[in-house]
């Protein structure tokens, strides 16, 4: 049961081979035993989880269950869940008990009947690529405990990789689903911007943030996305489109699939062993009937600079709500109102969050707005247009997800720029608003390597198909770390 797919778990629950309560308890026991080593969860509440499981069992008994009813799942601690502590990895929200549910939580729990096992650790306010900026301490990669799991959805990635949960939610602003999926040997999907509601998902950079699934396979991701996606009136940028079955095309053959290979993703700056694994994966796709076409994304080298203007600008605005008045941390000692703001924010935010607020404040300030913010938005257009051109020649773009495998804890913590460059292949996808995935495609020095798939707008079903067929032909995605039995 520990390594079962969501489909197998669903069948076992339907056949009454196991109850949701038993299944939930199985994973809660694993969390109790293994989480002290990994620090993947920041909050677990067994009574709450078991209550949801009992409700799920009642639905199964009454034959009113959906395909995923009763299956336990880990929730990234960026999603507000009523009655659960929701911290976003920050001291600022260390004692915040959410009074409401995010739409993703409501859809997964109340509608689909999934059972939340707890809230997973993450970089503070999702700002980081290693999970080291969390107020609750770093997460350890199950493949090597001395290494990072990636970030910002590092807790979700470690939890699923070590099978403390069958699957998890994540969010991706610049690579935060795909990069940790790559570093922990998972399949992760960032949908097209606007497909999954952002309501109740604590905001970092609102024009880039998007929630999505992290799991062991493309099939699991498809089933999860079916429960997460959909129009939401409460999110002003949610897209009003007909509902889709994201699993509908999983089995389609890949004959004639055109794979675009941007030369910018295959140049310098990527670890040689990572690149070798990616090339072997592309050769496997050719065996499956795909053809490749070389192309160019000529402005992709500008994605990191443009992102580090746009994302901090939006963050500085979004995080101004944390002022110690309505919720969150308030300093103990202060003088006047201004002093209360200054001290509450100085003590409540960690170093990386402060850095980004300061960058954002500066680029939006008088005299600098045109040179930085508008220039970044113009470059964002160039980057998005490059993809429009590229998709005239291909159906899916491939390359590495991350330029390296999991790095050592502390290795990049002292140099923000080095850390930022670990998202060099993922950021452009967020700027354009496209869907992207990471799929396990081999190992380098015993550590997992991720293959990135980028699709055209709303092409999630095709991406999942492309990933699934590869996973039928290879077994990289079913490898598990040792020592996590």
């Amino acid at each position: 049961m520990i390594n079962a797919s969501l489909k197998q778990l669903s069948q076992a629950l339907a056949a009454k081979q196991i109850s949701s309560v038993e299944l939930t308890q199985l994973f809660l026991d694993r969390i109790e035993r293994l989480n002290p080593t990994l620090n993947a969860f920041v909050t677990v509440d067994p009574e709450k989880s078991l209550n949801s499981a009992r409700l799920a069992d009642a639905r199964i008994a009454a034959s009113s269950a959906g395909p995923l009813t009763g299956i336990p799942i880990a929730q990234k601690d960026i999603f507000c869940a009523e009655g659960w502590r929701t911290t976003c990895g920050s001291k600022m929200l260390a004692n915040f008990i959410s009074p409401y549910d995010a739409t993703v939580i409501r859809k997964m729990e109340a509608e689909a009947g999934l059972v939340s096992l707890g809230k997973t650790n993450m970089d503070e306010f999702a700002m980081g690529s290693s999970n080291e900026t969390s107020f609750f301490g770093p997460v350890h990669n199950p493949w090597d405990n001395a290494r990072v799991p990636g970030g910002s959805s590092g807790g979700s990635a470690a939890a699923v990789a070590a099978r403390l949960a069958p699957a998890a939610t994540g969010t991706d602003t610049g690579g935060s689903i795909r990069q940790p999926a790559a570093l922990c040997n998972l399949t992760g999907l960032k949908p097209t911007y606007g497909v999954v509601s952002r309501y109740g998902m604590i905001a970092f950079a609102s024009s880039l943030d998007q929630g999505g699934p992290m799991a062991a396979s493309a099939e699991d991701c498809a089933l999860l996305l079916n429960t997460m996606a959909g129009f939401d009136e409460r999110d002003s940028t949610s897209l009003d489109r007909p509902l889709e079955d994201y699993a509908r095309d999983l089995e389609k053959p890949l004959n004639g699939l055109r794979i675009g290979l941007p030369k910018e993703f295959f140049g310098e700056g990527c670890d040689a062993e990572v690149m070798a694994a990616v090339r072997v994966a592309i050769a496997e796709y050719e065996k499956l009937g795909a053809t490749t076409v070389e192309l160019s994304l000529p402005n992709s080298h500008l994605s990191v600079p443009a992102y580090y203007v746009i994302a901090p600008a939006e963050a500085s605005s979004n995080l101004s709500r944390f002022d110690g008045v309505r919720y969150g941390f308030r300093a103990d000692d202060y003088g006047n109102l201004d002093d209360m703001y200054l001290k509450s924010r100085a003590q409540g935010f960690g170093a990386e969050v402060k850095r980004r607020i300061l960058i954002g404040t500066y680029v939006l300030s008088h005299g600098y707005y045109d040179a930085y913010y508008l220039q970044a938005q113009r470059i964002r257009r160039l980057i998005a247009d490059d993809f429009v051109e590229a998709f005239k020649q291909c159906d899916v773009i491939m390359g590495p997800t991350s330029p390296s495998t999991a790095f050592r804890l502390g290795e990049k913590a002292a140099d923000p720029v080095q850390m930022y460059l670990s998202d060099i292949y993922t950021i452009a996808v967020n700027l354009a608003g496209l869907p992207g995935m990471s799929v396990p495609c081999g190992f380098a020095g015993g550590l997992p390597v991720g293959l990135q798939l980028i699709g055209n707008y709303f092409d999630e079903a095709r991406l999942l198909n492309v990933a699934h067929r590869y996973q039928q032909a290879t077994d990289w995605h079913s490898r598990r770390p040792e020592g996590m039995a």
Binding site: P99, E233, P305, V309, L342, K354, A432, G433
Partner: protein
Amino acid sequence: MSLTLEQVQRIAHLARIEISETEARTTQSHLNGIFQLIEQMQAVDTHGIEPMAHAQDLSQRLRDDAVTEEDRRVAYQAVAPETEAGLYLVPKVIE
């Protein structure tokens, strides 16, 4: 471009984050490293390019001007640092 210590302190104040001089110095060196990366943008001629604020060029949806939320003041104020009689308490603003 290079930020001075005074600029860092001024930005921190605009952002309402108290910062000591030692912190300001460390921050100054980090921010200057990051801006060095950002400066790559300045070499690009973007004349005539429409700024892209958003992935989907949509206008904001409008809805009927009707009450859609219930009163949940008690639940929302339960998470506030300090309230009294349904009000959020802050230090005195007007003497």
